[in-house]
Structure formats: C-alpha cells, structure tokens
Symmetry: C2
Subunit: 187 residues, 2 copies
C-alpha cells in the first residue's frame, strides 16, 4: 500500500479543521485517523495521544491568532489599535470556533512559556502604549482588556446574545468604546 504521508504538523492542521467542523471537544484520534483514511494506531507514531493532539491544535491556534493580531496592530494606535485587537479575537472566534476553543485549552507552564501566548501578552501591552499607563496599572489594564475580549467572545460563541435585541455587533462597538474611555481616564 502507498503511504498516507502523515506528519505531526499535518495532523495538527487537520485537527484544527476538524475542530472548526465538529467542535474542539469532539476532536478525537479516531476521527482524525478516519479523515486520513488510516488506522487509528498509525497516528501514534506522530502523536503521543489525545492530549498531545489537543495541545498541538492549541499551539497552532495561538500562533495564528498572534499572527493575525500582529498584522492588525501594525500601523495603528490608540482606539484603532484597541478595536483592531478586539476584532482580531472576535473574528477569529467566529470564523474558527473550534480553533478558538483550542486556544483556551489549558497548557502546562512549560508549554505555555514556549507558546505564542507570550506574544499575545506583548501585543496587549503594545496597544496600551497609546494610553500611557505605568505599572501596576498596565497589568491591570491588560487583564481588563483580556477579560472583556475573551468574555464577550466566548459568550457570543455560546449563543448568549443570539436571540435578543440589539444585535451583538452594536454591543461590541459600544464595549470597545467604553473600554477606550476607561483606558484613557484610568486614574
């Protein structure tokens, strides 16, 4: 028989696609093997197991998200940068719900330290350059931003804003605006 050409990287990418189709929690070694038309144990040459697969998808999503954020922030400052960062997360979550869920997968300390999570923190601080905040307020502000973005996006993804007026977009715009005000008048 011809070989399928599996690699760890290809499995992580296919896993990410699968996550967007069926949800991150339903990404299984079995489903991935089916997708490649190979037997389940074949994947174990490339992956240590389910947890390893999930972690690799998480790392992939974090990278994509950080790349997108970095591009969105280039040449922007202040409220523009704030909205660009928020929109990056929100749009990514809506286009790639499974990958967004993967990005929230808990990583052990060592893995997290080597992940693109670090760049996310740097990008958040880059946005705050437009707001002139000293420590420890800068850290508080990073956490506020992260909480607001992640909170809104995950509630929206869960459908919390679906069947009610006004639409989520208008709340999002209003929230970005109030976040900008908060950061400008942090004192």
């Amino acid at each position: 028989m011809p070989r399928a050409g599996l690699t760890t990287e290809a499995l992580a990418i296919a896993g990410a696609e699968l996550a967007d189709e069926v949800g991150f929690e339903h990404v299984t070694v079995s489903a991935l093997a089916r997708r490649f038309g190979v037997s389940v144990p074949s994947l174990y040459s490339h992956l240590r197991g389910t947890e390893d697969l999930h972690t690799r998808i998480a790392l992939l999503a974090l990278e994509e998200l950080a790349d997108g954020a970095a591009e969105a922030l280039a040449g922007r400052a202040g409220p523009d940068a704030l909205a660009a960062l928020g929109d990056t997360y929100r749009d990514y979550a809506r286009e790639h719900p499974g990958r967004y869920a993967a990005a929230r997968h808990p990583l052990d300390a060592e893995t997290a330290a080597g992940s693109a999570g670090v760049r996310h923190a740097q990008l958040a601080r880059a946005v705050l350059r437009g707001y002139d905040l000293a420590e420890p307020d800068q850290t508080h502000a990073v956490r506020l931003m992260g909480s607001t973005f992640h909170g809104f996006v995950s509630l929206e993804l869960a459908g919390a804003f679906s069947h009610s007026e006004p639409d989520a977009q208008s709340s999002w715009a209003r929230i970005l605006d109030s976040l900008d005000h908060t950061l400008r008048s942090w004192a």
Copy 2:
C-alpha cells in the same frame, strides 16, 4: 441486596461534587456509578445518559449561582451591588470550579428558557437600576458586565494570572472600580 436509593436529584448533586473534584469534562456515568457503588446501567433508570447528566449539573449550578447572587444583592445598590454580583461569580468559580464550568455548558433553547439563566439576566438588570440606563444601553451594559465577569473569572480559573504580579485580587478590585465608572458615565 439492599437498594442504593438512587434518584435523579441525588445523581445530579453527586455529579456536581465530582465535577469540583475532577473537572466537569471528566464527569462520567461510570465514575458516578462507582461513587454510588452500583453498576453503570443502573443509572440509566434515572438519567437518559451522559448529556442528560451534564445538563442536570449545569442546571443545578445555575440555580446555586442565581440563589447566591440574589442573596448577595439583597439590600445593596450601585457599586456595592456591582461588586457583590461580581464576587458571587468569582467566589463560586474558585470554590466550585467544576460547577462553574458546568454552568457554562451549552443548553438547548428550551432548557435554557426554563433554567435559572433567566434569573441571572434579571439580577444583572437589577444591579443596573443603580445606574439609570435606558434601552438599548441597558442591554449593552448587561453584556459588558457579563463579559467582564465571565472573562476575568474564566481566565483566572485557567491560571492566566497565576504566576505574575500583581495578584489577581488587586486587578479584580481595579476592574470592578473601572466598571463602576463606566456605568456611571455611560453617556
């Protein structure tokens, strides 16, 4: 043999305890049967299956959370009420991480409509009575509050603030404060 005295309610409660011990995603019909010292199929007289179990734990957690919030809000208004509501969520999540995760379990529209989720929305609006907001701003504000609370709590639970200074508590206080300012000067 004597009977174990299983009931749907008892299973949901034990499931909630199990969730806090091992994580909501690891709550399984098998583990629950072990906990009661009965065979796995015995639970199927009381539960339709795993999804049903998860849903019942979610409903239980939503009730507890709404009860706690209602009690915390009694006799409070303005910033006090805001902080009381936020603290209710945060404290519950730290004391009962599995149940908090359960409360985030997606429910179908019908189940959600009959759940304590409805009371949560009412309680959020009750807090906003202290801030004099008309629609649609009130809805935007409910969503901002929900996003901020849920975002912070879930990031904290995931350990996002663990190994860095300053501690999560000081950021939380700062965030509640800025949320209060935002709501007071919503225009």
